[in-house]
């Protein structure tokens, strides 16, 4: 019987990630992701293909305004694929933050009525975006074929880079979702915060445009090294390992801060939501 022994008392430890609990509730995580996807595309005609439109439309707009009109350099690569290869991870990242931001508040009904590891909620918000990302990769393959890019060994780097992206998204996402519970301001801050972040990340421009003096500053943004890494992986270009290394380090720090803060305050959610 002691296998199920639970002790409930005020939590005093500062940092605790309930990994075992999350594994035990993995089916709930699965069903919450599944619910969000189902609900998102219910009563829509185009269904899941909506997930493809956002990066595609952005690609077209950015190609016209930044590629054609502003003539932003794209390092000898056609601008549309240059920007799309970065928009893929960026769209996933931005949507994850948006989804996480409101996730805990939107699930107030669950939080005040039933126990489960609360981290499941922002995690499920990110999980839904991951499915959208997979679909967008299919479009990427089409665009790559169109511009005569082939898949090389570099493409494998996508997996570790994706993990870096997920770590950053979880870090910032959990932080935002917890903060939104106490301060509804974050619901307003996050959407334009993401827009500013887009311009602080080499999505529409190559990192070289910033100049070597500020490149270090750019790399403090964990998404900078990661996004540019994606581009290198997809377009078969050399990786800038320094930038990727710094980005990973920072994304791990952000992950620890976000998850740590979330785990510390999650016990109060039901009281203040």
């Amino acid at each position: 019987m002691n296998t199920n022994h639970i002790v409930i008392k005020p939590q005093r430890n500062l940092f605790r990630i309930p990994i075992i609990e999350i594994i035990r509730y993995k089916d709930l995580l699965y069903f919450l992701v599944w619910r969000d996807l189902k609900v998102r595309y219910k009563q829509t005609i185009l269904g899941a293909s909506w997930a493809l439109f956002q990066p595609l439309v952005q690609m077209v707009i950015f190609s016209i305004f930044f590629g054609r009109l502003a003539k932003i350099p794209s390092e000898n690569v056609p601008y549309p694929i240059f920007v799309y290869s970065a928009l893929l991870p960026w769209t996933f990242f931005a949507n994850s933050l948006n989804a996480c931001n409101n996730s805990v508040i939107n699930n107030a009904g669950l939080i005040t009525k039933i126990y489960f590891p609360r981290l499941i909620i922002p995690l499920s918000a990110i999980g839904g975006g991951l499915i959208d990302l997979l679909l967008s990769f299919l479009v990427l393959l089409g665009i790559m074929a169109y511009y005569n890019f082939s898949i090389t060994i570099h493409f494998l780097m996508i997996f570790p880079l994706l993990i870096g992206t997920i770590f950053t998204a979880i870090g910032i996402g959990t932080l935002l979702s917890a903060l939104s519970v106490a301060y509804r301001d974050f619901r307003h801050i996050v959407p334009f915060g993401i827009q500013i972040w887009l311009f602080a990340t080499p999505v529409i421009y190559p990192p070289s445009i910033v100049g070597s003096r500020f490149e270090f500053l750019l790399n403090l943004n964990p998404m900078a090294g990661i996004i540019n890494g994606f581009r290198s992986a997809i377009l078969n270009r050399p990786f800038s390992w320094d930038a990727i290394g710094i980005s990973f380090l920072i994304s791990v720090i952000i992950f620890m801060i976000g998850v740590g803060y979330f785990s510390r305050v999650e016990k109060k959610f039901a009281d203040i939501i």
């Binding site: 619910r35 609900v39 669950l110 039933i114 126990y115 301001d185």
Partner: protein, 422 residues
């Protein structure tokens, strides 16, 4: 440690902060307050330990309780006594401020039926979702799916979004999922108070099966009949403390005696009360008396009640008229009593005095009600106070049939009536 003790609660307390302090709804205030009082700020999420006593209330105070395996423990108490807080702590929704609970078994809690149901999803999809939320794994759900559908009796609508369900169907589906949980300990909060009578009986039966299978149930309810039927032991919680712990009959008697205890009369002359009128006569106090002429705000359906009103006369008025409005929780006036309609002449009121309004056989259904009181000359108000008093009407078998009239089937009042062939 005794092995059959499945739950051990020691020194459990839960404090809540109340009132105006430290509730920032926006960041600006939070930042401002951070700079004015950084330590308080940092502790905001960590608990209320830094707040003075005036700012906190104890929802639970030093609770000690053990529950043995196979017991069905009832918890009764007034609204706000701390029953639900106890269940929420036991089910790990909220954290205690102090004390410790040891739970030796798999615990499921049902604080609501249909937690997490999504209106856009079909019955089938909601079964999976809700069962996962209640802690079942995918395999367990697959195994029990057919049984759940059979129990719910809604197979035909399995692929219809639940937003098109009637409330009865919704509840059936939700309860069917919950009834198929297989925990060692089950916490239930008032959820049986839903659905039609036949289905309620089915659910009670299912719960009974659960308990005779050696499972432990903790059951919070206002439905004394259900408590009496199910529970082997019962505790009464009052103001966050366990004031009775023993057999079910004793607990129900104790609870009823407690309900009719004196309620403090509020001073209506206080500055804090918002009112309208020229104040020539003012309401001084008001109380509701139950059939035993004791002040109470817990009244049974069909009880003879008396409203006692104290008046302070500043300057007499001609032919004062007095009205008492009974409002339900939606703010609708269900009925009112009015001196003018009953041709009661109170023109003799020239000094402070007390008046009574007797209402035999109160026809209200269960729920919370509020009183507005009005006094004036013709239609000119001297004093008018809204929601001056609230009281709960408790269910009772007024027709002597064993079936309580219930608001859920419509209506706000019950009336005596007969059915027969022509």
């Amino acid at each position: 440690m005794n092995n059959s003790e499945i739950i051990t609660i020691t020194g459990l307390s839960k404090k809540y902060r109340i009132g105006i302090q430290e509730k920032h709804d926006n960041l600006r205030e939070a930042i401002a307050s951070f700079f004015s009082n950084p330590i308080k700020r940092i502790n905001r999420f960590r608990g209320a330990s830094d707040y003075s006593k005036e700012e906190t209330i104890y929802a639970l105070k030093e609770i000690n309780l053990t529950v043995k395996q196979g017991e069905v423990l009832g918890i009764i108490g007034r609204n706000g006594a701390g029953k639900s807080t106890l269940l929420k702590i036991l089910s790990r929704i909220t954290e205690p401020t102090d004390g410790e609970i040891i739970i030796r078994g798999r615990l499921s809690s049902l604080l609501e039926v249909g937690t997490g149901f999504h209106p856009e999803l079909t019955g089938r999809e909601n079964i999976y979702l809700n069962a996962a939320i209640l802690g079942m794994t995918k395999n367990e759900i697959n195994e029990k799916f057919d049984e759940i559908v059979r129990f719910s009796e809604i197979r035909k609508f399995l692929d219809t979004p639940v937003k098109r369900y009637s409330s009865g169907m919704y509840v059936r589906l939700a309860f069917s999922v919950a009834a198929h949980l297989e925990p060692e300990i089950l916490l239930v909060d008032e959820v049986l108070a839903v659905g039609d009578i036949g289905f309620q009986k089915k659910c009670l039966g299912k719960m009974h099966d659960v308990s005779s299978g050696g499972k432990t149930i903790i059951f919070v309810s206002h439905n004394m009949a259900a408590i009496e039927n199910l529970c082997t032991r019962c505790i009464v919680i009052n103001d966050g403390e366990i004031t009775f712990n023993g057999n079910t009959d004793g607990a129900i008697k104790y609870y009823h005696s407690q309900l009719s205890e004196t309620v403090k009369p509020t001073d209506l002359l206080s500055e804090d009360i918002s009112r309208i009128g020229d104040s020539r006569i003012r309401f001084k106090n008001i109380a509701m008396l139950n059939s035993e002429e004791k002040t109470s705000n817990q009244i049974y359906m069909g009880e003879d009640v008396t409203i006692k009103i104290g008046l302070k006369v500043n300057k007499g008025i001609k032919e004062p008229r007095i009205a008492v409005f009974f409002k339900n929780q939606l703010g609708q006036t269900v009925f009112r009593t009015f001196t003018w309609e009953k041709e009661k002449d109170f023109s003799s009121i020239t000094n402070d005095c007390e008046i009574l309004c007797k209402i035999p056989n109160l026809p209200l259904l269960q729920g919370r009600y509020y009183l507005n009181i009005w006094i004036g000359e013709y239609n000119k108000p001297s004093d008018f106070i809204e929601s001056v008093l609230s009281f709960d009407v408790l269910g009772k078998d007024v027709f002597g049939t064993g079936r309580q009239p219930d608001q859920r089937y419509g209506g706000v009042v019950f009336v005596e009536h007969e059915w027969d062939f022509l």
